[in-house]
Symmetry: C2
Subunit: 236 residues, 2 copies
């Protein structure tokens, strides 16, 4: 990623979470013309799609929302409503693959992104994966991203045209607090994001799931206050 | 793939076409307990899904049908009804990537297959791709399959469990006529398959699209008669 790739198009995987919002801001700051792709995948925390729409609008990104019945695959607390989202102690987060892991999710998301990119002549994909301060998801690791970059290049017309995909992971080595500091320096409005796996009916976060805990810890370490509204008793 | 992998589970990508039907028969012949995965992806030739159901039943395979709105991505005559399926001369088939190529289709299919496999504890995937006598699709080439095998292993829990995906492509080096001969030797009932991209309302093939042409040529070279009903004037 170089400043100077002015008006190169990019596709940002935009969940509506803190990481993907920061990723979108970074892409725009680097001179890319952004497209955004969100998935309506039967997620428990569907409020994130509303956040994604607001973010795409804020950054003037062409926004695709792709419906995806990952609940048919199941096997995750995020897509199978019969599996509860657990309250994991902060120190245990990252030990093993948690039940909120959605089988092959980023693989599926990046494959579909490749299809959109091919039709819209986009070579740059931004994804907000993070291998530090992360939840233990296998599809957030650098070696996976590298393998996927190769696979989607070989599996599309690009390989015949001398073009190739570049998957940008600007957050991969950052701590959550560093992501937040970077985002704030770029003017990201984090009230337009959701990180919670189990929000209430108004879309407010629970403060208890591993994603909320990582977010709150990040804001605290960064020295900022999270603009979202948490239940009483959750320490900000 | 070894005879002796008795009752190892496998997932067969089952479009309902000639190749995937043969692939399913090969997996069963090799002692695998078959699961089958088909996609309802807005394809013009939706009749293939009925064929897939009949094939899965015939082989006693647990069958998943996954809805996938590839028409949102577009860019292909198979998913965009405003793009006609062309009548390509046989000798021109395989020159360049044709308009019936669906952007990133096999990448997307294999990613979703990985999700199903992970939940059902399956390491073996069968896909009927074919790099000879093929339509020029980039996602049918051995180097793509190899890259994808690595990506889906790294992007799932398997990589943490010392397990890995094996993508079997038993047809990859076979001519269409060899696939048909092999299938017939295994008792495949090709009346239960559809290859046509543009079938009529009764589900009968057009005989003119590149897929019909390759199929008819294959049957002819194999010395068998295709059991499907073609329009009058199509040479069998």
């Amino acid at each position: 990623m170089r400043k100077g790739d002015i008006m190169n198009k990019c596709l940002v995987l935009l969940s509506g979470g803190l990481d993907s919002a920061t990723c979108l801001a970074i892409a725009v700051d680097n001179g890319f013309k952004p497209y955004a792709l969100s998935f309506d995948y039967g997620q428990r925390h569907k409020v994130e799609l509303e956040k994604a729409k607001a973010l795409a609008k804020r950054y003037n990104a062409t926004h695709f929302i792709f419906p995806l019945s990952l609940n048919i695959i199941g096997g995750s607390a995020l897509t199978d409503m019969s599996i509860d989202v657990p309250d994991v102690p902060l120190e245990k987060i990252g030990e093993g693959v948690p039940i909120t892991y959605v089988p092959a999710r980023n693989t599926i998301f990046l494959s579909i992104a490749a299809g959109f990119c091919e039709v819209n002549d986009i070579e740059h994909i931004f994804i907000g994966v993070n291998a530090l301060d992360y939840s233990g998801y296998p599809d957030c690791r650098p070696e996976f991203i590298k393998a996927m970059e190769k696979a989607i290049t070989l599996g599309t017309k690009y390989s015949d045209m001398g073009k190739s995909f570049k998957i940008h992971t600007p957050l991969i080595d950052l701590k959550k607090s560093e992501i937040i500091k970077l985002g704030i320096s770029l003017g990201v409005d984090y009230s337009l994001t959701n990180s919670c796996y189990n929000p209430d009916e108004s879309g407010n976060p629970c403060g208890k799931c591993d994603s909320c805990k990582l977010r709150l810890k990040g804001f605290k370490e960064a020295g900022f206050k999270d603009p979202l509204k948490y239940p009483e008793g959750i320490e900000l």
